[in-house]
Amino acid sequence: MMKNKASIVIIGGGVIGCSAAYNLSKRGLKDIVLVEKKFLASGATGRCGAGIRQQWGTRQNCFLAKKSMEIFENFRDYVDTKIDIELKQKGYLLLAYSDKEVDQFEKNIFIQHEYGIPSRILEPEESLEIVPFLNIEKLKAAAFCPTDGHANPFHVTAAYAEAAKKNGVTILKDTEVLGINKSKGRITGVETSKGLIETEKVLNAAGSWAREIGKMAGLDLPVFSERHEILVTEPVNSILDPMVMSFSYNIYCQQSPHGSFIMGYGPENEGHNHRINSSCNFLENMSKKATWLLPPLKKLRIVRQWAGSYNISPDKQPIVCESEELAGFYMAIGFSGHGFMLSPAIGIYLTDLILKEEPPFDITVDLGRFERRETISEPSVV
């Protein structure tokens, strides 16, 4: 039997929707329904690079990332799950290729230390102690935080979802949201491919489809989607401890605990659309970039490449708020390349927002910031 009444309908079974469902149910909200058009983590979550980083350049991102990492570190107890999220904390090594970039890293680290994030600057030679085969040609310096790392996005999402189900949340997979009904300026229900669900509240956690969900409610949300490609190699013995990343050289590459190398870079001149096909161009560029920086990779076999969508807001930072135009319409969208790592803290923040409690953290993530010209200037985004 389809559940036809809900206190809130969460649209999207990615890590954000599932974290919100879990946190809301943990705080006692009943009759939550989560609707996912395919299967859990079928969107960006299951396509992402699985990196979790605390080395940010704004106070609020440092705060959210640190808070999220504390939850990842204690995930079994926090979420009450037996699922192993494959947390690996062997650091992120961020490479700087200009004096300006070094300066920026130094500024960032100053802020990171306020939040207890144990990052530090390394000379190029010192980076070799962490990655002995790193090509340090042209490298000016690096920033390193030993507690950054990796977790398995499928397992994190499944853990949130299963714990939410245990708390009574209904999860409808293979069910697509087709429309949002309103009457007298209020939400009255959500039309799905399996029938109508009556509700006064909706959480838009539809990832790259966030804008389309907004339209269903008559809202014009300032986000777009952009293809990001990625590939993975066969698993080999552990040789690379940290995630190696550079904003200016434009690359990220890490070895998962399972042994495979996962890597990607930010595209140039990509359109705003829902394309997620793979290209030979990416395969070639990626191979050049990765093997220049990490020469021993040459011998490895690439086994799969794919792509996913970033959902991007004007300042590349998330929009997490209730709509000012339509009461009961909540959104957690526009996470660019960092929605997975922030999902634990965002789930908590959303819960207080939806339960109308005092905000648990002092952050600016509302939609109104664009009009107020209080956009977030985060220097460290991919």
């Binding site: 299967f39 499928f154 395969l283």
Partner: protein, 94 residues
Amino acid sequence: MMKEDNIIVCRCEDVTLKDIRELIKRGYTNIEEIKRITRCGMGPCQGKNCGQIILREISMITGIPVEKLTLQRYRPPFGGIKFSEVLGENNDEK
């Protein structure tokens, strides 16, 4: 009869029949979900060996006929390729 935890469904990633059956019973009834949680089909063979077996198990537990179920998607580069080969360097023994 072999015990189900001794039957390896996916040789690339070492996944047993027991693992698969447990996941299906926990509600993961789509081969794409099972692939993502167990890595079954993410190895070099891309599910050529395990795919059919998993579909049969899903069908047996959910009652959906096998013909109605689809195999997981193959991802490029098919068969796998070394970085050195992508770069056109065939001599990578040095």
